[in-house]
């Protein structure tokens, strides 16, 4: 990892309008991502975690410019990509590829697997047609499928195999950065580890950088160097992976970690059960957005929104009382 970030996100906001009435007037906004800033260094895997509705998937889509960000800037290798015209975006999309959660809907059912992998290379005129063919066959091997699958349709494959196809397609353009949105969530338990190991191996082989979006903290611990926690459109904590799992500062991070069931009957943890549900991102709570569910909230939390501050080297947290909750001990 070196110092110049591969990706820089500055105060990114992604709002979606809510329309109502005959004239479809905008009556309110869903603030899915609400002022998010972070950096990704080359070669790392950044885990983006949070529960449904926290904005983690939207964030991935906004970085890819699959949504037009409402506000904020995104730089890729120093170049601002959030203001590029769509014609200029093409090259950036080569460098940033995406792997989706659902391998059943993200592959065109009417295309053979080979052409699915070749398509991007053809669009970008990366090589001659025979060379593209050779690379597609090579990629099929690399993701553990084998060249004999070239002329099959997606429906002939299991979920895990389809996810391998999705990975081969993403790799075809030799990207620098891969945004993987819940890449193993829809897979069977015994297949998940196959895909996770594959992603790890490919990262090494192709010097990839990942943004790994997931709700599953156990998976994140195994694949990510750094973790970023989101809650209701805001970043609440960023830390190095092992630091995060041993000493999380934000009460929400602590509650999340403590709630994950561990497959060991002897594992003991002080389970912090949060009351209530995640509030609506249309009208997020005043002050700290987590205060309505926070076990250590004080009066100030209802009034003043905490800013994301560096508490220790590379450990950022947005909380008035960081470290006041722990899941360890009795």
């Amino acid at each position: 990892m070196n110092d110049t970030p591969l990706l820089q996100v500055q105060n990114l906001k992604q709002y979606f309008p809510i329309r109502a009435g005959v004239l479809r007037k905008i009556v309110d906004w869903v603030k899915a991502v609400d002022g998010v800033s972070f950096e990704v260094s080359p070669g790392e895997t950044l885990g983006v975690v949070g529960e449904s509705g926290c904005g983690k998937s939207t964030l991935g889509m906004s970085i890819m410019r699959l949504y037009e960000p409402t506000e904020g800037k995104v730089f890729f290798q120093g170049q601002e990509i959030s203001s590029l015209q769509s014609s200029q975006l093409k090259n950036i999309r080569r460098d940033i590829q995406m792997i989706f959660q659902d391998p059943f809907t993200s592959l065109d059912p009417r295309m053979h697997v080979g052409p699915i992998i070749e398509e991007g290379m053809k669009v970008h005129h990366l090589a001659s047609l025979p060379e593209i063919r050779r690379r597609a066959l090579d990629l099929l091997e690399k993701v553990g499928l084998g060249a004999e699958y070239f002329s099959r349709y997606p429906h002939e494959f299991s979920g895990g195999q389809r996810q391998r196809i999705g990975i081969a397609r993403a790799l075809a353009l030799s990207p620098r950065l891969i945004v993987a949105d819940e890449p193993v969530s829809s897979l069977d338990v015994s297949v998940r580890s196959q895909i996770l190991n594959l992603l790890k191996d490919l990262k090494k082989e192709y010097q990839l950088t990942y943004i790994f979006i997931s709700h599953d903290l156990a998976v994140v611990r195994q694949v990510c160097n750094r973790v970023m926690v989101m809650y209701l459109g805001k970043v609440v904590e960023i830390a190095e992976g092992e630091v995060f799992f041993s000493t999380p500062y934000h009460p929400y991070s602590v509650a999340l970690i403590s709630a994950v069931p561990v497959p060991d009957p002897d594992y003991e943890v002080k389970r912090i059960i949060l009351s209530g549900d995640v509030p609506s991102p249309i009208n997020p709570p005043e002050g700290c957005r987590f205060h309505t569910r926070c076990p250590v909230a004080q009066e100030i939390c209802q009034q003043v929104e905490p800013v994301l501050e560096q508490k220790e080297k590379n450990h950022w947290v947005a909380c008035h009382f960081p470290g006041s909750l722990s899941y360890k001990g009795q």
Binding site: D188, Q222, A259, R271, D277
Partner: protein, 335 residues
């Protein structure tokens, strides 16, 4: 509390489905297990292992493509498979209740939450409406839904995912069943909500002394909830034991592989174990041991069906090579 005769016994259950081409799909193929009063057991397996079909068969809710082709389901001495549909309706909701994975699709969107809970109460307890309404309100309170009376008149879409799951639990428990079947009750929920619901189920189970059959693929949930664990693979039970047996001393290579391939929150794992291949297609289950084409210990012997053996007290395994499972520790799952 604990008697010798189990509350519920499933014996050699067979549920087959038939495709349009009349192919036979043996989704559940000779499954046996039991449930004692006040106990929680887990049926564990991946998609297509037959765990959900088993639970639907207990309630005789298999749809018209499928048929229960053999076996017994004995609830307190009565074989449910010999009952008429009318008698079965008495059992459902009163003696055995079920909660489902997807609360949004299990609740009827055009009836209020109260009406749906009252339906079972009126049917089974023959209460007049005002009393049934009181009982429904009580049920909502039991599952920790705030402002229970107000919620009775709301429709499912007005509740959040966690609240819907609570409402469904309230409905399932409204007639104080002896057996609760929970089919992936928290799979569609966020982890902080999952923790709430699991705590609620455990607490109610204790309070009402229910037997709970927890159906799940999540071994983390199993470790925290179940006293005994039944591992299923491709329509068969492959191992059964106490949770300590299963988690610390498993004998079946599949159980072993599952436990070592799942990412764990509490430790950093350098490399995850891998079970090669994928779950087999139920139309084409391998002959003999159904796990053999993914198993590092498999040989010619595995072309024949293994025996169901008791290895230690109350610890059963369905594998020819159970005694060699230790080898996997050093060798891993590579063949």
């Amino acid at each position: 509390m604990k008697e010798n005769t189990p509350l519920l016994q499933v014996q050699d259950l067979k549920v087959y489905f038939y495709t349009e081409e009349k192919e036979e799909l043996r989704a559940v193929d000779g499954v046996s297990f039991y449930l004692k009063e006040g106990e929680t057991i887990a049926l564990v397996g991946e998609s297509g292992c037959g765990k959900s079909v088993t639970s639907l068969a207990i309630l005789r809710l298999i749809d018209s493509d499928g048929k229960i082709q053999g076996g017994k389901i004995i609830l307190r001495g009565r074989d449910l498979l010999s009952l008429s549909e009318k008698e079965m309706r008495e059992i459902r909701g009163r003696d055995i209740s079920m909660i489902f994975q997807e609360p949004s699709s299990a609740l009827n969107p055009v009836y209020t939450v109260g009406d749906q809970i009252m339906e079972a109460i009126i049917l089974h307890q023959k209460l007049p409406r005002p009393q049934a309404r009181k009982a429904a309100e009580e049920a909502l309170r039991l599952v920790g839904i705030p402002e229970a009376r107000k919620r009775l008149d709301e429709y499912p879409h007005e509740l959040s995912g966690g609240m819907k799951q609570r409402a469904m639990i309230a409905m399932a428990l409204s007639c104080h069943p002896k057996v609760l079947i929970a089919d992936e009750p928290t799979t569609s929920l966020d982890v902080t909500i999952q923790a709430q619901i699991l705590e609620l189920i455990a607490e109610l189970q204790h309070r009402l002394n229910m037997g709970v059959i927890l159906i799940t693929h999540d071994l983390g949930v199993v470790a925290g909830m179940a006293e005994r664990v039944v591992i299923m693979y491709a329509g068969k039970v492959v191992e059964e034991g106490s949770r300590w047996d299963i988690f610390h001393h498993s004998f079946h290579p599949y159980t072993w592989g599952l436990l070592h391939s799942i990412p764990r929150l509490d430790i950093k794992q350098e490399k995850l174990a891998i079970i090669p291949g994928a779950v087999p297609d139920p139309l084409n289950f391998p002959s003999g041991c159904r796990f053999r084409n993914r198993c590092p210990l498999a040989d010619e012997l595995c072309l024949t069906e293994p025996q169901w053996r008791e290895i230690e007290s109350q610890h059963y395994v369905y594998c020819h090579h159970y005694s060699q499972v230790e080898v996997l520790k050093t060798r891993g799952f590579e063949r």
